[in-house]
């Protein structure tokens, strides 16, 4: 299986933004335009996360998500601020293949995972983990990497798997936006602890970083934001590079 190359949009509607360490709201561009661009670049998938919906305790802005979904004929995962079954069904009905959830499941009621898995199937359920190193442990954070929880990352990854999650998006608060490489150690710990697919994000700064991640960790997918948003390379560049180096199934 080829490793999926995934474009990640961190959105504060109506803009795609690019925080560093999950802080800051630097504007990158229009979600629709960026979605179109990355689709044309042959992204295997697009992630759209409304990064402030939980922090601001605001309802999901469904129209904004639908307008992005309409641009795509590739898998589309959407989330941010998901709190109830109705949120799942609305997002799926408007074209999301998978629904991404973190804060509510982590901090309020993980049972929502079980319920959603039963109704929509595990494959429709992505748990977003915002991992932060604190006192030598990797802890799960919420609300756009600002509020810590009691749970360690590997522990939570195992728990959500047993509750029926179909996939994990593993992000690192310490590495995100820095473009200095992924947290390979953490990624390995998570990938080896569970059986469901893991998409690893946070830290892609070069083609080498992506190659290194795939070689060392063999994740199901790689989520990329800054490197694409700042137009340093395209997705085709990545796939070509991986093919030349015979990495990731390319």
């Amino acid at each position: 299986m080829k490793t999926r190359i995934i474009a990640k949009l961190d959105v504060k509607p109506p803009h795609v933004v690019k925080p560093i360490h999950f802080e800051g709201l630097k504007k990158i561009g229009s979600p629709i335009e960026l979605a179109k661009t990355y689709y044309k670049q042959e992204a295997d998938e697009l992630f759209y996360i409304d990064i402030v919906a939980s922090l601001y305790q605001r309802e999901i802005l469904f129209d904004a998500i639908e307008s992005v979904a309409n641009q795509l004929y590739i898998p589309f995962s959407a989330g941010g601020g998901v709190r109830k079954i109705e949120d799942f069904s609305r997002l799926i009905h408007m074209g999301a293949d998978k629904v991404v959830i973190n804060t509510f499941a982590l901090q309020e009621d993980p049972n929502l995972i079980d319920k959603a898995a039963k109704i929509f199937g595990s494959q429709a359920l992505v748990i977003n983990i915002e991992a932060k190193k604190f006192q030598n442990k990797s802890i799960c954070y919420s609300d756009c990497g600002r509020i810590s929880s009691e749970l360690e990352v590997v522990e939570w990854a195992k728990e959500v798997e047993s509750r029926g999650a179909g996939e994990i998006l593993l992000q690192s608060v310490d590495h995100d936006g820095k473009q200095q490489g992924f947290d390979l150690e953490l990624a390995n710990q998570v990938v080896s602890a569970i059986n469901i697919p893991v998409v690893v994000g946070s830290g892609a700064g070069s083609l080498k970083d992506i190659k290194s991640l795939i070689e060392n960790v063999r994740p199901s997918g790689v989520a990329i934001a800054s490197l694409l948003h700042y137009q340093k390379i395209s997705i085709q560049d990545i796939k070509e590079y991986l093919a030349i180096n015979q990495v990731g199934g390319y």
Partner: protein, 387 residues
């Protein structure tokens, strides 16, 4: 029971609470003014910054200032009072690498350093690449002054503010460096006295006691049993000496359009800065002001005195800078403003050698009935912005 401090009278606060139509600040912030459209001075100034100021012209003025002071012989030609935070590292970086100055960063030690704060302080020296002088006052005196300022002002932060204001001037004199460059002029940027809005510098002879020291200057502390010799570290140098030096205190915010979030990105990329391990208590943000374990108590007191907590200050400038809108700001204030800074509470009580009861008695003496009421045994703001 501690006698009420009569906050309203002391700060001359209006009886009715009115919020700015544009941002989230209220008329309870001392010295703030509103125009006939209900827009506060800080927002008005923010508009002016965006539309009327010729920043190219301002940059030229900075170039001229630097050309005038640059020594080019290895000795320092400008002092940048610095915590290692995003603001001061930006100023030092720009002066050194863009304007070819030789800055000396001068740090007045926090009362109690946080781990994240100390790392950033170290990184700005080692990654940003600056010479630094760290001034740490006599710890025993500093503790006593902290307690006294808490007793009198409800704010333990006063000794820090003395040093932040006066220590750079002492170093300026000792090293013969007339130019001091601060970050932004807080009064001007955040809605205080706007008289210096179009001036690049501040008057070190007159502004301090009222604007920066809340009416309690270091020399006043002899009344509380501190020897005047022990207060020397906190004092402004002799005015005549400063005049002879030709002291000139400038604000970088006059020369460059000041957007705190932009400085955050700059600091990450250039001076080894990292945000706090989680959001600051009392707000949602994690990129500003977290080097001192006592920070939280300073902001908390402002919340008690004026009903304006940390989330209020953060949202106000983020609205002006266009990162969030007013409704989002209100939602964040509702969620976080006035949150008690419990993480370092025990540390603080031990440091000042006070009990929890005493702490709350002091705090409560600053609650004005025009802002606060008790409901079901709990203090509540009468007119929070989200009501």
């Amino acid at each position: 029971m501690i006698k009420s401090k009569n906050t309203q009278k002391k700060y001359n606060l209006p009886k009715e609470v009115i919020y700015c139509k544009n941002c989230t600040i209220s008329n309870q912030r001392p010295r703030i003014t509103f125009n006939e459209f209900g827009v506060c001075a800080a927002c008005q100034f923010s508009e002016i910054k965006k539309t009327e100021i010729d920043w190219t012209q301002r940059a030229n003025e900075l170039q001229d200032l630097c050309d005038k002071h640059r020594k080019n012989d290895g000795s320092y030609d400008v002092i940048v009072p610095s915590s290692g935070g995003k603001d001061s590292s930006f100023v030092a970086y720009q002066l050194k690498y863009k304007y070819n100055m030789n800055p000396l960063t001068v740090t007045w030690s926090p009362h109690l350093w946080t781990e994240d704060g100390f790392d950033n302080f170290q990184n700005h020296i080692h990654v940003g690449g600056f010479d630094n002088i760290l001034g740490t006052p006599n710890g025993e005196i500093h503790r006593r002054l902290t307690k006294i300022s808490f007793d009198i002002l409800g704010d333990p932060f006063q000794p820090f503010i003395y040093g932040q204001t006066n220590y750079p001037m002492q170093i300026a004199l000792k090293h013969n460096i007339p130019l001091i460059m601060y970050g932004e002029n807080g009064e001007v940027e955040y809605g205080g006295n706007m008289k210096n809005a179009y001036k690049p510098n501040r008057d070190y002879k007159t502004d301090h006691k009222k604007h920066y020291f809340s009416g309690l200057a270091p020399e006043d502390l002899v009344e509380y049993g501190i020897k005047s010799n022990d207060l020397a570290t906190y004092m402004s140098p002799d005015i005549e000496e400063l005049e002879k030096l030709g002291l000139d205190i400038h604000f970088f915010g006059y020369y460059k359009h000041w957007v705190p979030q932009d400085l955050y990105y700059h600091a990450i990329e250039n001076t080894g800065f990292s945000p706090r391990f989680a959001r600051n208590e009392g707000t949602y943000s994690k990129y500003a002001s977290f080097d001192d374990k006592l920070d939280g108590f300073h902001y908390y007191l402002a919340f008690i005195k004026f009903g304006l907590g940390r989330a209020t200050s953060d949202t106000a400038h983020e609205i002006r800078d266009g990162h969030i809108d007013r409704d989002e700001g209100i939602a964040l204030i509702k969620r976080f403003d006035g949150e008690f800074p419990s993480l370092h509470f025990d540390t603080f009580l031990k440091y000042c050698d006070i009990t929890e009861d005493y702490y709350y008695d002091v705090i409560d003496s600053w609650r004005s009935p025009h802002l606060w009421e008790k409901k079901y045994g709990k203090w509540e703001l009468k007119y929070p912005i989200w009501k």
